[in-house]
């Protein structure tokens, strides 16, 4: 299976859709993590993010319409960072993380999405693709703005936000 060419329209759309889908999956995972560790506020936030990203994915799907896109599982995409830009790193969650921190993760992800599309906009060869990239970049910038606003509703974490007086559990 060859890598998908992001500089052509079908490839570009495949990437754009993958970005959203992976974000949905990642936020769903995070929401579940927070459920399991009883961090309800963060869970709700991540669930909300998953919902929003699902909407974005739907929008892109609508734009794709009936076109067939190149097929490929996520590891075949040549993400700049190895990983889809809008999916925060698995290692960045914490069971005591505050909403502020959760939204910081989101914010960084959205920023990476902006950069991703801006790069294509700058470096692309296909005009239609560049135009779409510009459009998407703009949208992502809007997301960045909104997330930043959203984050402002929450206080930054206290110094010892991750202080847990109790020892970890042991199991098997």
């Amino acid at each position: 299976m060859n890598a998908i060419d992001v500089t052509e329209r079908p490839g570009f759309l495949a990437y754009a859709l993958a970005i959203e889908n992976e974000a949905v999956e990642r936020y769903t995972t995070f929401a579940e993590q927070m459920d399991v560790t009883n961090n309800r506020e963060a869970a709700e936030l991540f669930r909300e993010m998953a919902r929003l990203e699902t909407l974005h994915a739907k929008e892109i799907e609508a734009r794709i319409g009936g076109q067939t896109l190149p097929e490929g599982a996520s590891c075949e995409y040549a993400w700049p960072d190895g990983e889809s830009p809008e999916a925060p790193d698995f290692s960045d969650t914490h069971y005591l993380m505050t909403p502020y921190q959760a939204l910081t993760l989101v914010l960084e992800a959205e920023q990476r999405a902006v950069e991703f599309f801006e790069t294509i906009e700058r470096a692309g060869t296909d005009e239609a693709v560049r135009k779409m990239a510009a459009e998407f970049a703009k949208e992502e910038r809007e997301h960045v703005r909104r997330v930043r606003q959203w984050r402002e509703r929450y206080p930054p974490p206290e110094r010892d936000w991750d202080d847990d007086p109790d020892p970890p559990n042991q199991a098997e």
Partner: protein, 568 residues
């Protein structure tokens, strides 16, 4: 109140600090001269899971959870309903917390006092909800505020002045919130020196007192804390703890160290014990003393690692291949873990064999405030060959069966210890006389030893008896006490020494008994069958066998007794 004990459950999700609050409450109660205990329960998550600290505070030593809880204090309710079965409430109980009480609890009809610990804590920086809860419940049971402050300070001292101050103010905010809360005062009675200790720690201390200076082990829940206590302790007194690659290695390391003369011990749980049985048999056959503390958890297989059960009795008694007589000792309470471990080491050393100590999760991981256990001293030690002797025979058949062991380094007594059947010199032999002689030796040295009164805890008299063991004794004793005023007199027999069996002593203990109920925490009635197999009591024998994960409560026993003796 009739019951001098108060039961308190603290619940909250990960990070809320319920365990810390519970521990501090227990320690403060101890400082106030009260007895008590705390056990823990939590979800499967390593971090952030829901947790419950289950306490019982009393004017007398207490070793099991009560039938009901007086207070349920929720720092938050996240997933707290999972503990519903563990925290029985009734209309006399009081619930404190946010108002989104799970149905499982509110259905009890308990009185509810709304307190949002999170909101109270949000008032000012550095306040912690768990400290507010601690202040509240400490006051509710009448603990002097000074004691709560003292324990909090001790814990937080290293975090600096601000933290300590915040805690103190959290405690007083909690106390102030008492308003409208039904409180219960329990009065200090104890004058004894009190210890705050877990069963695992007590067993560790017992081991050290027994002379153990070498420990090799592989971590496993719920035995790990015993090792965690032993590692630095041994280092301090010139001993060693080795973390081995697995249980096969650890038990064999013990055999090696003990062969060299060092009393040796390991701690494990069911799956680990299963891996050790082959080599425990080697210790038996080669007459090398070793002690294996098995902290039972729910079985079979990986089972329920964090919950207690008495279902490793079978493997401990019978799990070695061949005829391999060995010692099985079972502590009867958190504090008895100390004595039992020490005694087991003493017996293993004196009788040159393997001893299994059957503790369980509920003994091992419960932290209790108890009177300082009395010092026990056992005179006899391992019989060691002290001088070169041309005709030295390691496995000589001597009166009593215990032949002195030469330790490497002693000139002229070189021998090879062997797990193959052997003659008196240790040379492999399949001759019928050698096999018979060594089988008899290994059996008789255990059978002939005088175990004294330590063999069992026996109490009461009359024709009705309860036979029980280990952690089941505490609820049995409470049940018996509860029934006494009703005129139901019960005899209690709880062997501490499970192997070798003591038929004469048991017969004496059962003298005049017409009906007996065998109480244990297993599914298959393992103890019941053991009693039948080895003591074949002539009385009517009934079984109350209940598996984990819930502890046996006094009321369960009371109920079973009433069922049993309904007619009588």
């Amino acid at each position: 109140m009739n019951d001098p004990a108060i039961s308190i459950a603290l619940v909250g999700s990960g990070g809320s600090g319920v365990m810390t609050a519970g521990s501090l409450l227990l320690e403060a109660a101890g400082r106030a001269g009260l007895y008590g205990m705390m056990s823990r329960s939590s979800g499967p998550q390593i971090r952030g899971g829901e947790a419950a600290a289950l306490l019982r505070i009393s004017t007398r030593p207490v070793f099991c959870l009560g039938n009901r809880f007086d207070f349920l204090v929720a720092i938050d309710w996240a997933n707290a309903e999972r503990f519903a079965a563990e925290i029985p409430l009734d209309t006399e109980s009081t619930i404190v917390g946010d108002d989104d009480i799970p149905d499982e609890f509110s259905a009890s009809g308990a009185t509810f006092k709304e307190v949002s610990f999170k909101r109270l804590a949000a008032q000012s920086a550095g306040l912690r909800p768990n400290m507010i809860a601690l202040g509240l419940i400490g006051s509710a049971i009448g603990l002097p505020p000074g004691e709560l402050e003292a324990v909090a300070k001790k814990l937080l001292d290293h975090k600096g002045k601000a933290t300590v101050e915040a805690s103190v103010s959290a405690l007083s905010i909690g106390a102030a919130t008492l308003d409208g809360l039904k409180t219960i005062d329990i009065k200090t009675e104890s004058v004894a020196e009190l210890w705050n200790i877990s069963g695992n720690e007590a067993a560790g201390l017992g081991a050290v007192r027994g002379g153990v200076r070498f420990v090799a082990a592989y971590p496993i829940t719920p035995a790990t804390e015993m090792l965690e206590w032993l590692a630095p302790a041994l280092e301090k007194i010139g001993g060693t703890l080795v973390q081995a690659e697995d249980e096969l290695a650890s038990v064999n390391q013990l055999i090696g160290a003990s062969f060299g003369g060092t009393p040796s011990l390991t701690a494990t749980s069911g799956p680990g014990l299963a891996l050790m049985t082959e080599s425990i048999g080697l210790a038996v056959a080669s007459e090398t003393p070793v002690v294996v503390v098995n902290v039972m958890r729910g079985g079979p297989s990986t089972g329920i690692p964090t919950k207690s059960e008495q279902s490793d009795l079978n493997i401990a008694l019978y799990g070695l291949h061949g005829d391999a007589p060995h010692l099985v000792v079972a502590p009867l309470s958190v504090s008895d873990c100390l004595f039992s471990a020490q005694w087991a080491v003493h017996l293993a050393e004196t009788l040159q064999t393997a001893a299994i100590v059957l503790s369980d999760q509920s003994l091992a991981q419960t932290r209790a405030v108890i009177p300082r256990p009395v010092d026990v001293f056992f005179g006899a030690r391992r019989a060691v060959q002290t001088e070169a002797w041309e005709d030295y025979e390691r496995y000589a058949t001597v009166p009593g069966g215990v032949s002195p062991m030469a330790l490497p380094g002693l000139t002229g007594c070189q021998y090879t210890a062997d797990g193959l059947e052997h003659n008196t010199q240790g040379t492999p032999s399949s001759r019928v006389e050698d096999h018979a002689r060594q089988l008899d030796k290994r059996r008789d040295k255990l059978a002939l030893h005088d175990y004294g009164d330590h063999w069992a805890h026996i109490d009461g008299n009359g024709p009705m008896a309860i036979i029980t063991w280990g952690s089941s004794l505490a609820p049995v004793e409470e049940a018996v006490e509860t029934l006494a005023p009703e005129g139901i007199a019960l005899r209690v027999i709880a062997p501490r020494l499970l192997m070798p069996v003591q038929p004469e002593r048991m017969a004496a203990a059962l003298e005049g008994v017409e009906t007996a109920l065998v109480v244990e925490q297993s599914h298959g009635g393992q103890f019941f069958h053991y009693i039948r197999a080895f003591y074949a009591p002539e009385c009517e024998l009934h079984s109350m066998a209940r598996p984990g994960p819930l502890p046996i409560r006094p009321a369960d026993v009371t109920h079973a007794i009433r069922e049993q003796w309904r007619g009588s």
